[in-house]
C-alpha cells in the first residue's frame, strides 16, 4: 500500500510509450508484461519524475485535471498501489 511521506520512483526496467490520444503503454522488461494507461495513469507516471511522494503526484494530478487535491489523492491511490504491486514503481531508498 502507498504510504504518506514515502517517495516512489519508476522502475528502471519499465519503458513508457506515450500514444497520440493521451494514453500509453508501460512495458516491464523484467516481467515482460505490458500495462495500458489512461490519461490519469500517464500523468501519474510522468509526475513520478526522478522520485515523488503520493502527495506530490496527487498535487500534480489536481493541477493538470483541475480537481481538488483530496479527490486527486483518493483517485490516484489505487493506481499507485497497482503499480507498486506489479513492480512498475518502487519505494525510493
Amino acid at each position: 500500500m502507498v504510504a504518506s511521506n514515502t517517495t516512489y520512483r519508476a522502475g528502471a526496467d519499465v519503458i513508457l510509450t506515450e500514444l497520440g490520444d493521451g494514453t500509453g503503454v508501460l512495458l516491464h522488461l523484467g516481467t515482460k508484461f505490458y500495462y495500458t494507461l489512461n490519461a490519469t495513469g500517464i500523468a501519474a507516471w510522468k509526475a513520478l519524475g526522478g522520485g515523488a511522494s503520493h502527495e506530490a503526484i496527487a498535487s500534480q494530478i489536481a493541477t493538470k485535471f483541475q480537481i481538488d487535491a483530496e479527490t486527486a489523492a483518493r483517485d490516484i491511490e489505487p493506481v499507485l498501489n497497482e503499480m507498486l504491486t506489479e513492480g512498475l514503481i518502487a519505494r525510493a531508498v
Binding site: 510509450t17 506515450e18 500514444l19 503503454v25 512495458l27 522488461l29 515482460k32
Partner: protein, 327 residues
C-alpha cells in the same frame, strides 16, 4: 568492422549486403531463406556474413552466457550483446554488432527446413536489429482500394487465414508471417521478408485452389509467393487498419474496435524480441512501432465459424474486404 568473404552467395536485403557460405550440407538452408531477395555482387565487404558449417569445429564455450529466451525448441543465451542459439542439431552465434552469424550444425541429424525456417530466422532477426531492421511476427497487405492492412497475432491466431482471405478478395501481399520494421525517409516502413506462406492443414483445405508445394516439419503446407493471388509488394508504409485475429466459437465473424493503447499492447506480442534481456535498440523500436500504428484504426477480428468454414467466402461478405466502405 566489415567482414570480407569470398566464394560465397550474396543477396541485397533492403539495402544490406548479406553474404553466406554453407559447408558440408547436401542443401543450402540460407539459399532457401533468402530465395526471395535479389542477388548482389559476391565481391566486396558484407554488412552481414553468415557461415553454416557442418564440419567438426565447434563454437567457443557459452557456459557463462545467461539465458535470454525460449522460442519453440530454440534456446537463446546472451553475454555482452552477443547471442547464442541452441537448437536441435545446431548452435548459432550472433555477433553483438550484427555483422556475423556463425552456425555449426550436425548434418546427419539436422532438420534443414526447420533450421532455415526457425533457427536462422531468429538469428537473422537478432542480427538485423543492429542494422535498423526490426523483426515483426505479422502479415501485411494492400487492398484493392489502396488501404494498407497489418495483421498481427500469435502463432495460430489466424494471420495467414485472414491474409489469404483478403488476398482472395483482391489485395496484394507483403507477407503473412515475417516482416521487418524500419525507418525509411523519416517514416516507419514495413519491409518484406519474402518467404512462402505456411498454412495449417485446416487453412490450406479452405483454399483448395492454391497450389501447395510441400509440407514443413510442423505439417504446414508451403505456398510459394508467386502462386498467391495478387502480386507481392516489397514494402508498405504505415497501415490504415490493424487487425488482431482471434479464433472464436461465434457463428459470425465480426470486427471489434479496440483503442490505441490496447492495440499497441497487443502489437508488442508481435515484436517479442524487444523484451529479451540484452537486446539493444529497444527504445528506438518502440518509437517506430508507435509511429507505425499512430494513424491506424485497430480491430480485433473475431473469426467465427463462417470464416473458418469458408474464409474466402467470408471475406467476400465483409464489405470492407473489397474496400466498399471505410473500415
Amino acid at each position: 568492422m566489415h567482414v570480407a568473404t569470398s566464394d560465397a552467395n550474396a543477396v541485397d536485403v533492403h539495402g544490406l549486403r548479406v553474404r553466406w557460405e554453407t559447408r558440408g550440407l547436401a542443401s543450402d538452408p540460407a539459399r532457401r531463406l533468402f530465395a526471395g531477395f535479389a542477388a548482389c555482387a559476391e565481391t566486396g565487404d558484407a554488412d552481414l556474413a553468415i557461415t553454416i558449417d557442418a564440419g567438426a569445429r565447434a563454437l567457443p564455450d557459452a557456459s557463462d552466457f545467461r539465458p535470454a529466451f525460449f522460442q519453440g525448441n530454440v534456446r537463446g543465451l546472451e553475454k555482452h550483446g552477443e547471442f547464442r542459439l541452441m537448437a536441435p542439431a545446431a548452435e548459432v552465434a550472433i555477433a553483438a554488432d550484427g555483422r556475423r552469424i556463425e552456425a555449426h550444425v550436425d548434418a546427419p541429424t539436422l532438420n534443414e527446413r526447420g533450421f532455415a525456417n526457425t533457427t536462422l530466422v531468429i538469428a537473422l532477426a537478432i542480427a538485423l536489429r543492429q542494422h535498423g531492421l526490426f523483426h515483426m511476427h505479422a502479415g501485411a497487405l494492400v487492398r484493392g482500394d489502396g488501404r494498407r492492412v497489418l495483421v498481427m497475432g500469435d502463432s495460430g491466431a489466424g494471420k495467414s487465414t485472414v491474409t489469404l482471405a483478403l488476398l482472395d478478395a483482391g489485395a496484394r501481399p507483403l507477407g503473412d508471417d515475417t516482416l521487418f520494421l524500419a525507418e525509411r525517409d523519416g517514416a516507419p516502413t514495413l519491409l518484406a521478408f519474402a518467404r512462402p506462406f505456411h498454412l495449417a492443414p485446416a487453412t490450406a483445405a479452405a483454399f483448395p485452389a492454391l497450389p501447395t508445394t510441400s509440407r514443413d516439419a510442423n505439417g504446414k503446407s508451403e505456398i510459394a509467393l508467386d502462386a498467391l493471388p495478387g502480386r507481392a509488394i516489397d514494402r508498405m508504409s504505415a497501415p490504415d487498419v490493424v487487425l488482431f485475429p482471434v479464433v472464436t466459437r461465434e457463428a459470425t465473424t465480426r470486427a471489434v474496435p479496440i483503442d490505441a493503447a490496447e492495440a499497441f499492447g497487443q502489437a508488442l506480442r508481435s515484436i517479442a524480441l524487444v523484451a529479451v534481456d540484452g537486446m539493444t535498440h529497444k527504445v528506438e523500436q518502440l518509437a517506430l512501432l508507435r509511429a507505425l500504428l499512430a494513424n491506424a484504426r485497430a480491430f480485433e477480428l473475431h473469426l467465427g465459424a463462417d470464416w473458418l468454414a469458408d474464409p474466402a467466402g467470408a471475406a467476400e461478405r465483409l464489405p470492407w474486404a473489397r474496400g466498399q466502405s471505410p473500415l
